[in-house]
Symmetry: D2
Subunit: 412 residues, 4 copies
């Protein structure tokens, strides 16, 4: 039970849930998209700093490292295997506590070496075709935060450091599921069959009625493809696998949508245009990336659903509501969705105010959406349940931080 | 009239428009917020390059410079006037065409000098308290784009260079209007009365029923404030002005909402915490900024409305649908809103596919939202009108580009 | 009179002075050579910091900023006027005191803004064809020095901070004078007649007996030269002026050497190779520069004379013997040369040891060189005079610092 | 025999060789000194590029990478083992050929990845206490050279690309030998006995008559030293070893000089000042480094001998006379010294002129120095021998390039 009355507003909204409407668009940027690379680097910096702070001083100190910039390199891909000509430049910026004072003693903290160590390992593990030692320049500009914010931070770990909000929804539609799982399939099981498929994948699903057009853009790894014919046949093979996998998902979910797949539509065989790369990452030859511009923390970009602009990756998991509230909104939405009838759409929005406690938002809003939710006899019960779920989570918000620090939550 | 049948889907949706619901949250980051600084720099780079390309080769060439990173500096603000200790570092990255080939001749193009020239002038004009010569380091990493994208670009200026979407809505609610105009007031007319108010302003409005809580966070310029007492009285004065102005807007719009204002709630006079800065910009002492993470191109962040994740600022205004479709979505939404009854909420989403013509989206969706839109007798007429508006704009999409190049469209 | 016995060793050396030998080589890099640009920037940073420290805390604080790196840009020069394509990147690094502690108060000092301010003004003043706002990126990495050195520094301003030496000689030979003054002429009076002559000039004189071959390499400013013919005639005109000026110097000095001039021998008109630049500075298109690799503090590079490897530019003028001893060695050599017969060659070398007082070198050596100096009856008198000159200067070594801080000493 | 008459001038000079004079100063910066780190990095880049060019196109292409800048980091050393707080930043700049054109095909060359690969391996091998993955940021700005220089280069591999000179002398004095071998001992055999001795060693020998004062400054590695007492006893032990080794060298050379050793004179035990580091490299906490400011290519800095200002490390070993002539001058000096009587001092200076063939210098000067060399009956024979040695080497100058490319020549 919640410790005290909170500003939680639960409403039933008479509205056709998105999955039942005529049109829906959903996008996912794969783990190799430059924006996802930036997100992953930023989140890794935060995770590495959390671990270092805990080791050095016993608890997490102030930091917000949600600011990595990935500047594209230059490559010369070619069938059979090309070369990286100019490395990608990755600037890790953001704020971090570089020292503390214990009485008269000043204790310096190895912020940038810790970040470099964590990120180097992360990139090596995540991107096997990328030679981190020669094809990436890792630079750092991680300084100390402003007095004002650190002032709030020092006073208590439970005060909000910013006026910002988190947004989540549940459950996933078939379009959502197809989008997310297709990228996971291409970067997962399909790799054993088609190693030539690179990690920079973009999946965009457009549903019109029961017809889903899925556009997949996938950077191909040149060393696995000998020539134009091989490229063409690899595309055909990949088209088959991705479509098969998509249809399996549709069957599994009991959906009746029809799937059409457009793969690498930017190619133009006649003019000799192929989406060929050395590393399977478009950052190698032209695409820059930034934190917070790709997937939301549920792994998707959903213009038909509410979204937050806050970057989740790289933010401090203890004090930054922009991170905690985004993660928590999705958790609450899913928990509420399970309690309410299956076809209801749940929206959650949590709004903080700087200087106030994190466990007590300025405004927590839960919308239960069905064509006649406002008039549904079960609404009072749903409201009570939703209130309890939200209040309980807010009272136990430290668990969200702990999950994030433990690396159990994906942020993009 | 539209040239041919397009994939435009207009729907009436039975749904309570956001302004009529219990809860609404709207945010605006002011022109001095680090994310807005990044947006402004990126857009300025694109504008400067467009002008240079037109001068040098007669038309705009491929570029996407939506990638500026603002790395915070260090300052030592104090009552009466402090100092910048470490400059802000601004990295302008992204892709731009650095040369063209005319027969055997290679013509080099002054991309980085052009960007530096434009941005230096922009910063000087926009931020009068910022000494661009000493308190900012402007760095550039503007290289050439990838073959694949430039391949599409060269074929025709009218092919989409990416699979992405634009999103817009109209009309503004009273919460939207209050949020946007409050920032414009603080950074506009109020400056004459309170020059101490800095340009880094964040306005967050949370409406619960008829009660709007507006949280304003405003960096104060130290040289205009002599001491703690002056700070306190400036806050009181500013509180009065902003509230008065807000109530004027409410009256003008004929709304009956009630406004409560929380100003600089992070301050803690007892502990000596004030939001004091040398330049009125929090980038001077701790806040980094990125392109595309702040306001959408309508100037707001609206978690209760559909939004796009695409950065509008800095993108190529000729070929990048991520820019054109976002701008156009809002234009169409406004035009449709004017034709339909006043309290309808209009959502527009335009989805492109790489390799297809920009004037023919894969999917253009217009939702007309009222509590009973689907059943409204006027719906067929509304649909026709909306279709015509969208089709006309798509046929004349070059006008959108031209407006952007001419600097007539704000992107953040 | 000297305060106490110092380790000053004066010797008469039986040796033919360099000007009387068959072979002599002397070089001067002009003020626009990338190494000279680096020297000038580094020295300007030090001068600006000295002024700032005196203003903020009353006296000069520890710094050594002898570390600027000039990374070449890219230009597209052409007859009639070309363009800068990529800016020159100038990294100002080195060490500087960024804060002091006054009791419990920490006073931050604006090191990097001060450096940027000074260097921007310096570049604008020195290089009129360089657009500092668009064609140069000024970056800074000026951090705090090591504990060890600052430990020495804090103890007393009069302790040496390094084990290093300074070297000087006097008087100048006709080859020295011709080399130095030719560059000064090209970058001085000749500019009015030939504005096309750029500031990146390299003068190399090779004397064999009485024949001096002077090789001059001069970057030309493209906007003043319309075509190949104009280039050719400018070269002829410049050849005439430089030779005339050289012969005037020879006459003035009463020398009987013969001067031959080779101008821009890298040109190859048949193959269309001209030394054409936009700014008159080769840094714009290919030549990087570093501090301390160009002229010694007498303005020359003299492989037939003793030289120090220490960079003079940018070093702390109060505590860094690498700067003070180099400047002082030349002063002492000149003072001694005036007391001794005109054709004697004077060498001075001053060696410090870390932790010892600057006014008491580990080893001060003055060599008086004539074909029979060791046997000259006047040697005892010369020795006494030389000892007094050196001892007096060492006792008044603060005057050297003061002259440097006042900008009265050239360091390259 | 030489192919044609060259401008080689051999002279006998009546002069007391430096080893016989009263005063002599010699310095060596150890392999861990920041300037030596910069030299080593620059030379490694050139070596790596030579190998890459040979592999990719069959021969070495134009490059000059003599421009590395080492920007100091921040460390927190302490007895028993401290931490790196901020990484060292190493900028590799300079010019390199990034592509060639073969007919219509443009072949891109992996310049920066090659440099990163070579340097990373070099640093790991050379500096075992330095964690290259976390304590160093490697950045690159390696662009294409200017048209003028590349014009000369393309015409023939045997044209000089610059007007510059090389300087060498032989044989080494006892002071030279002691200086060089002491550093090699400390960074060689002594390491097994005293692993705490870091690689940043500076050896400065000042000889007055028969008394040599050797000042050694050595960064100590903190993890091997438990406390102040251990530091003190390590200093005493190291003092003993270095002195013993020095006296062994003196005995071996049959010299009668007396050696006094001053070790880490900047320490001040009372005030708690120790020369303690984490990595044994002072770059970790305050000392920046540049190419070409440390040892000449014979491994020494010798203010009593002729020296060149040219950086040898990193320059192109095929066309840059600044590199080849410096290396060759020392080779010729040593070969001549072996032919002439043992106590003669040999000076060699080679001067090129841009556009002329490298094997035919504008001016090659060999001075044979003894107290009465000009009058020695053997002078004509010495002159013939010296001429032949120099002429033969110039005719076979490619062998010098080959030795450098093969890594058989040390450049600092």
């Amino acid at each position: 039970m919640a410790s005290k009355k909170k500003n939680i507003y639960v409403n039933g909204i008479n509205q056709v849930p998105v999955p039942m409407r005529q049109i829906e668009i959903v996008e996912r940027k794969g783990i190799g998209h430059p924006d996802s690379v930036a997100d992953g680097v930023a989140e890794t910096v935060s995770e590495a700093l959390c671990a270092m702070y805990k080791k050095e001083v016993g608890h997490v100190l102030h930091h917000n490292t949600d600011q990595t910039e990935v500047v594209a390199g230059i490559s010369a891909p070619k069938f059979g295997g090309g070369k990286i000509i100019k490395p990608v430049y990755i600037l890790m910026d953001g704020r971090a506590t570089t020292y503390i004072e214990k009485g008269k003693e000043k204790i310096s903290l190895p912020v940038e070496p810790t970040a470099l160590d964590g990120v180097r390992k992360y990139l090596k593990k995540m991107y096997p075709h990328l030679n981190v030692d020669t094809d990436v320049i890792l630079d750092t500009k991680l300084g100390m935060g402003s007095d004002d914010l650190t002032g709030v931070y020092k006073a208590s770990n439970y005060l909000s450091n910013d006026t910002s909000f988190g947004v989540g929804f549940a459950p996933f539609s078939i379009t959502d599921t197809l989008t997310k799982e297709t990228e996971q399939y291409i970067n997962g099981d399909m790799k054993k069959k088609i190693p030539a498929a690179g990690q920079d994948v973009k999946v965009m699903c457009s549903r019109v009625g029961k017809n889903i057009t899925m556009t997949v853009c996938c950077a191909m790894v040149d060393k696995y493809i000998d020539d134009k014919e091989a490229y063409k046949s690899t595309m055909e093979e990949m088209h088959k696998y991705v479509l098969e996998n998509g249809n399996k998902i549709i069957d599994r979910e009991g959906s009746d949508v029809r799937l059409k797949l457009d793969l690498n539509t930017g190619d133009d065989y006649k003019r000799g245009v192929y989406y060929l790369t050395v590393t399977g990452l478009s950052q190698e030859m032209g695409d820059d990336g930034s934190v917070g511009r790709g997937n939301r923390c549920n792994g998707l970009i959903t213009p038909f659903r509410p979204m937050s602009m806050e970057a989740t990756s790289g933010k401090n998991p203890i004090t930054h509501v922009g991170k905690i509230y985004n993660v928590l909104s999705n958790i609450i939405a899913n928990d509420v969705a399970k309690k309410v009838k299956a076809d209801a759409e749940i929206h959650v929005r949590l709004l903080s105010q700087i200087g106030h406690t994190i466990s007590d938002p300025l405004n927590a809003n839960i919308d239960i959406i069905t064509p006649n939710a406002a008039d549904d006899a079960r609404l009072p019960k749903w409201k009570d349940e939703a209130y309890s779920i939200a209040a309980d989570w807010l009272d136990n918000i430290d668990k969200v931080s702990e999950k994030i620090i433990a690396g159990k939550i994906k942020t993009f």
